[in-house]
């Protein structure tokens, strides 16, 4: 007897648009124009002293203490760090089961690559019991979910603890990362694990499904 259980409909909601830049490092753009940074002007012509500092859109150039013996020029720097969040991976899973009886599978992991320069929060919601033909089929079995975050990709050390629950019991779980959670390369791993338990009532030639959502919030 062959039993099929499809788990589909896992969705990742992200408030940031995933661009195609696919950045793996910092990309620097330097703007040294007068419009952005202003202009310093200082002139000593015999005993006549002229000084002026104008402001740009980001920094100001000021000239202070101007005299026939010198002046001080402000050298300001502005660093605009733009938000970058990237998530790439598969949160879905498909089981194929042979044989009869009640049994539990080993843990199956889905690892997604996450790159971020912002703190993130991952939250679970809308996870369901097993369904078949549009009807609840909780007597056929259940799925134990675990959600965890690790530094680096592939996964390094774990950030926080694993948030787990069975079927709808996993809803409302969340993991928040901080900037200090980040490895030097800014990469993380989001791991969604599943452990499927089937009873003897899980019928052959039948497809069971379960769904749920992991929401990503950029803090």
């Amino acid at each position: 007897m062959k039993k099929l259980l499809g788990i589909a409909g896992m969705a990742v909601l992200a408030s940031a648009a995933f661009g195609q830049a696919n950045l793996t490092t910092r990309v620097f753009t330097y703007d040294g124009t007068q419009a952005t940074n202003g202009l310093s002007t200082f002139e000593v012509n015999n005993s006549t002293v002229y000084s002026a500092g104008t402001a740009g859109t980001s920094t100001s150039n000021s000239v202070t203490g101007a005299s026939t013996t010198g002046a001080s020029f402000a050298a300001n720097t502005t660093i605009n760090v733009l938000t970058y969040v990237y998530l790439n991976g598969n949160l879905g899973g498909t089981f194929t089961i042979n044989g009869p009886g009640s049994n539990t599978d080993i843990e199956r992991d889905n690892d997604c690559e996450v790159r971020s320069n912002r703190p993130l929060t991952f939250s679970t919601s809308a996870f369901t019991v097993l369904q078949t033909g549009g009807a609840a089929a909780s007597t056929a079995g259940s799925v134990l979910y675990g959600m965890a975050v690790f530094t680096e990709y592939p996964a390094g050390s774990q950030v926080g603890s694993t948030q787990s629950g069975t079927d709808t019991g996993v809803n409302g779980k969340s993991i928040a990362t901080t900037m200090s959670s980040l490895a030097a390369d800014g990469k993380m791993t989001l791991r969604l694990s599943r452990t499927l338990t089937l009873t003897q009532l899980a019928e052959g030639a039948t497809t069971y499904t379960a769904s749920g959502t992991i929401a990503l919030a950029i803090n």
């Binding site: 040294g32 200082f42 740009g56 013996t69 300001n76 760090v81 970058y84 320069n117």
Partner: protein, 218 residues
């Protein structure tokens, strides 16, 4: 052989010439200071008074040797001319993640001078965000150097490069001696920044750093 009349004639001619020189000196002694008072402020003297040797600032701003006496500014002679025009600020925009350093970004500031100058960095800070120290987010390595020429055409280095990271840049500097000033007085100050960001530089944040370049006219 020349006769007595010849020698008498030469002697008379010599006396006449000497009188002529003495008369010239006397006239100049009387009129010289008067002429000096009539020199417009925008004109500069070279060695002695010469009204025809006017210098039009800023078109002509030559650092001519007679003006520069050792390392002292020629007090009261007029003609001290220093001009600094440029942008000392810099703005970075950063996309992406992780710990990375930028390439060196240069600011070229046009300077014209006929006087020795000293540049000294002061008050440079670590990174700040929202008024709080943010040195975990990264740092800036500064470098400063003088070249002959202009921003549009940078010439040979006139000084060695000095540099430092964040507040370690303070007290870095150099002097441009009188003898090192190019003939046309045109000098370029290069102020460079290399930004190093760690993975902790957070998106949607603006970090700032400040500092001062002090110029002393020697």
């Amino acid at each position: 052989m020349p006769g007595p009349y010849f020698f008498e004639s030469k002697l008379r001619s010599l006396k006449s010439s000497k009188m002529s020189v003495m008369a010239s000196v006397a006239i100049f002694s009387i009129l010289g200071p008067l002429a000096l008072l009539l020199v417009p402020a925008q004109q500069r003297s070279i060695f002695t008074f010469n009204s025809s040797q006017a210098s039009a600032w800023p078109v002509q701003h030559y650092a001519q040797a007679p003006i520069i006496i050792g390392s002292k500014r020629p007090q009261g002679m007029g003609g001290e001319q220093v001009s600094v025009i440029g942008n000392f600020g810099g703005t970075f925009s950063i996309s992406g993640i992780g710990s990375t350093s930028s390439s060196r970004s240069d600011e070229l500031i046009n300077i014209t001078t006929n006087l020795p100058l000293t540049f000294l960095a002061a008050n440079f800070t670590i990174l700040y965000v929202g008024g709080a120290q943010a040195n975990t987010a990264g740092s800036i390595t500064y470098e400063m150097q003088l070249y002959a020429g202009t921003a549009a055409s940078v010439g040979a280095p006139l000084t060695g490069a000095v540099g430092g990271t964040d507040n370690m840049f303070n007290n870095s500097g150099f002097s441009l001696s009188a003898g090192a000033i190019p003939a046309n007085g045109q000098v370029v100050l290069r102020l460079s920044r290399t930004l190093n960001l760690t993975q902790y530089a957070e998106g949607a944040n603006t970090y700032t750093a400040s500092g001062i370049i002090n110029l002393t006219i020697n």
